[in-house]
Amino acid sequence: MPGNPIGVQPQLAGSLERAAAGRRTLAGYLFLLPNFSGFLLFLLLPILFSLVLGFCEWNLLTWPPRFIALQNYRRLIADINFWHYVFNTIFFMLGIPFGIIGSLMLAILLNQKLRLRNLYRTIFFLPTFTAGVALLMVWRWLLNTDYGLMNRCLIAAGLHGVDWLNRPWAARFAFLLMGFWTGVGGYNMILYLAALQNINPELYEAAAVDGTSWWDRFRHITWPLVSPTTFFIVIISIIGGFQSGFSAVYLLARDTNSQEAVTTIDYYIYENAYHFYRMGYASAISWFLFLLVFVFTLINWRYAGSRIHYD
C-alpha cells in the first residue's frame, strides 16, 4: 500500500495510535494518583465531612455523629461570644489599609537608587521567613509590662507603662500594631516592588518634563498602574484577616485577662473543636467564616474590580 510502509490499514493505525494515547493518558493519571489521593483524603473529604458535621453534634468519642439539622447555625446566630469574636476579627482587619499603604511607601522607598538597597530589602523581608512563633515570642518580650521595650520607651518619654497583655483595649491595640507591622514588610512589599519595576520609566520622564510634582506622578501614574497589585493584596489580606489570629492568641493571650478581647473567629473554631469537643459547632462556624469571606470577596470584585487599570 502506498504511503503505508509497514502495511497497516489506516483505520487500524488510527486505533493503535488512539490506544497508545489512551495508555499514555492513563499513565499520566496514575502518576497524578498519589497527589490526587492526598488531595482527596486530606482536603476534599475533610471539607465535605465538615459540611455534613455542621448539621450534627459530635464530640469525637462517639460514633456516629448525631444529626441535629440547623441547631448549630441557630446557636451561632444567638451566640454573643461568637459575634464578639467576629467584632475582634474585623477590628484587627482595620490595620490592613495602613499595612497596604505602609508597604507601598516602603516599596517606593526601596525602589529608589539607594546605597545598600538590597540589604534593606532583605531586612524588610526578614520577618516573612522567620518562624511566626519566634516573632510572637519577640513581641511578647516587647509588650511585657515590667521589662518590655514598649513600656521602657513610654516611661523614658515621661508616660506611664501600659499593661499591654492584661487590659482588653490595650491588648487589642497591641495586636493591631502587630498586624500592621506584619503587613508592612514581607510579601506585600515584594509584590509592590515588582509592580513598581514594571512601570515604564518613560511615563515618569514625560511627566517630569511636564513639570508635575511627586504627588501628581504618584496619583496619576504610580497608583493606577499598581492597582492590580493593590487589588490582589486587598483580596488576599481580607481573606487572610478573617482567618488570622490563632497563633497570636494562643501564644500571647491564652489564659490572660485579655483573652476574650483578642480572640478571633479562627481561635474560637479551634477552641470549640479541640477544647470543648464540639466538632459540629466548630464546623458550622468554619462554614460561616467561608461564607463571610466569600461575600466580602464578591463585594470587592464587584466594587473594586471595576476600578483596576491593567494598562
Partner: protein, 469 residues
C-alpha cells in the same frame, strides 16, 4: 505500559505508607501508659514502668510484657489523648483530662469486675473515701487516684521574725490574715511593691473557702451567686485593690509566685504540696507551712485535688493493665511521689501516713497541716466546682471571663457574680438539652434557600464581570 506499572506501584506504596502501623509489638505484649509532661513524673513513672515490667516478666517468663511510658506535653495533652482514642490507638492506661466525659462515652473501663477478679478491694479500701466517692459514677469505679494535693499557707519565718510577728496557725481568721499581710507588705518611697504580704490562690477557691458553692448537690444548677461567694470575692478584691497587700491576677501572671517567695519578696503564699517539690531542694530558702485558717463563715479550706489513672476500653490486655494500675497506686509507689514533694499520701490511716507525718526533713508535726479540715473537704472532681457535664476547658474559660472582669479596681462584683451564674447555667442547659427532632422539610427548605442565594451571588458576580469586560 511500563509507565503505567510504575505508576500503579508508586500509588500502592503511597497508599500502603498511609495505612502502615509502625507500633505493632514484636513478641512481648506492649502496655503503654501516659501522663502529662512534668519532670518529676517523667522520672518516677518511667522508673515505675520499668519496675513493673521487670516484676511481671520475672513472675510470668512465658508471657513477657513491654511497658512504655509516654510523657505528653501539658498544653496538648487532652487533644492528643482524644485523638488517640478516636484513632483506635489509645494508651492502655492514661490520665484522663475529662474523666466524666470519657466514662459517659465508654472510652474507659469499668474497674469493678477487675477489682473482684483480682481481689483488690482491700487495697482500694485504703484510699481516702472522699477520693473514691469523687471517682465513682453510678456506684462504679472507673479510675484510681494516683496523687493528692491540698492547699496550705506557706510562709517565710524570717520575714515574720523581722516584724516580730507570731507564725500563722489553724485558728487564724481572714482578719488575722489581712492584718499580717498588711504588716508584711513593703513598698519603696515611690510606692512600688517590694515585698508582697500574700500571694493568694485562685478566686474560686476563696468562694469554696467561705462555704460558697458552685453547684447544687445534684450538680444540676449553678448557685454561685450567694452571699457567701460575694463576701469571699469582696474580701479578695479588697486585698488586691483596697489594701493592696497582694498582687492582682494580671500581676501574678507576669511574675512567678514561687520565685518571688524564694527570693523573700512574698511573705505568705497559698499553694499546694507541689511547691514543696521546689522548695525542699533549695537549702537557702526558709519556709514553713500552716493550715489555711478560717473564713468569715468559720470554714477551713481543704480542697482535695489530684491526678487519676484510667484504663482504656480499647486495651487488649485489661487484666495486665489493671494489675499495673494497682502497682502504680500501691503505697510503695505513692511513697516515691510523696518523697519528691509532688503529693501527699493517698492512703489514709496513721500507719499509712506515719512516714509522711514524721518526715525528718520537716519540723515535727508540720505536715499535719495538709490534712487540716479534710473531713469536710471539697474534692476537685466532685460537684463543688467541676460539673460532670462540662469539659474542663469550658469551665476554665467561664472562670477566666469572670476573672478578667474581677481584676478591675471598679469591678461590680454582684453583677459579675450574677453573670457568672447565668453563664454556667446556660452552658449546663445547653449540654443537657434533650435531643432535638430535626425537621426534615425545614432543613430541606433552608438548604434550598442557601443554594438559591449561592446561585444568585454567583450569577450576580458573573454578570458584573461580563459588564466590566
Amino acid at each position: 505500559m511500563k509507565y503505567a506499572a510504575l505508576a500503579v506501584l508508586l500509588a500502592l506504596v503511597v497508599t500502603a505508607a498511609l495505612f502502615l502501623r509502625t507500633d505493632r509489638g514484636l513478641g512481648a505484649k506492649r502496655i503503654s501508659f501516659a501522663m502529662y509532661k512534668w519532670i518529676i513524673y517523667d522520672v518516677l513513672y518511667a522508673q515505675a514502668g520499668a519496675e513493673f515490667q521487670e516484676k511481671w516478666n520475672r513472675e510470668h517468663p512465658d508471657d513477657p510484657i513491654e511497658v512504655r511510658y509516654d510523657a505528653i506535653g501539658e498544653d496538648a495533652y487532652s487533644q492528643k489523648i482524644t485523638a488517640e482514642i478516636v484513632a483506635g490507638t489509645a494508651q492502655d492506661i492514661f490520665f484522663p483530662g475529662d474523666y466524666h466525659e470519657l466514662v459517659r462515652d465508654g472510652a474507659v473501663l469499668d474497674l469493678e469486675p477487675y477489682i473482684r477478679k483480682h481481689h483488690a478491694q482491700a487495697q482500694i479500701d485504703k484510699l481516702y473515701p472522699q477520693l473514691l466517692k469523687a471517682h465513682r459514677i453510678n456506684g462504679h469505679l472507673y479510675g484510681l487516684p494516683i496523687s493528692l494535693n491540698t492547699d496550705v499557707l506557706y510562709y517565710n519565718p524570717t520575714l515574720f521574725d523581722r516584724e516580730k510577728m507570731a507564725y500563722p496557725t489553724a485558728d487564724w481568721t481572714w482578719n488575722d490574715l489581712l492584718a499580717a499581710a498588711q504588716r508584711l507588705t513593703k513598698r519603696d518611697p515611690k510606692g512600688n511593691l517590694v515585698q508582697s504580704g500574700l500571694m493568694p490562690c485562685d478566686y474560686w477557691e476563696w468562694v469554696l473557702w467561705n462555704h460558697g458553692r458552685f453547684w447544687t448537690p445534684d450538680a444540676t444548677r449553678c448557685i454561685v451567686n450567694s452571699p457567701e461567694s460575694l463576701e469571699a470575692l469582696q474580701f479578695l478584691h479588697d486585698l488586691q485593690f483596697r489594701y493592696r497587700v497582694c498582687p492582682t491576677f494580671a500581676q501574678q501572671r507576669d511574675s512567678n509566685a514561687e520565685v518571688t517567695f524564694i527570693n523573700n519578696a512574698t511573705a505568705m503564699y497559698i499553694s499546694g504540696r507541689w511547691s514543696t517539690a521546689h522548695f525542699q531542694n533549695l537549702s537557702h530558702v526558709n519556709w514553713r507551712i500552716a493550715p489555711l485558717g478560717r473564713s468569715f463563715q468559720g470554714h477551713h479550706l481543704c480542697m482535695m485535688e489530684g491526678n487519676t489513672f484510667v484504663i482504656s476500653s480499647q486495651t487488649k490486655y485489661p487484666d495486665i493493665a489493671f494489675q499495673f494500675l494497682l502497682f502504680l497506686t500501691s503505697p510503695e509507689q505513692i511513697r516515691h511521689l510523696v518523697d519528691t514533694g509532688e503529693s501527699i499520701p493517698i492512703h489514709y490511716g496513721p500507719e499509712e501516713n506515719a512516714y509522711f507525718l514524721n518526715d525528718p526533713r520537716r519540723p515535727k508535726g508540720e505536715n499535719a497541716a495538709y490534712f487540716s479540715g479534710m473531713d469536710d473537704a471539697t474534692v476537685a472532681m466532685d460537684a463543688d466546682l467541676h460539673n460532670p457535664r462540662f469539659t474542663t476547658a469550658e469551665l476554665d474559660l467561664a472562670l477566666l471571663r469572670f476573672q478578667a472582669d474581677f481584676d478591675q479596681p471598679d469591678a461590680d462584683l454582684p453583677k459579675l457574680l450574677k453573670a457568672l451564674e447565668e453563664s454556667l447555667n446556660d452552658i449546663y442547659a445547653e449540654r443537657t438539652a434533650p435531643p432535638v427532632k430535626p425537621s426534615i422539610p425545614a432543613f430541606a427548605l433552608t438548604l434550598g434557600l442557601a443554594a438559591c442565594a449561592a446561585g444568585g451571588a454567583i450569577a450576580w458576580q458573573a454578570r458584573s464581570a461580563k459588564r466590566a469586560r
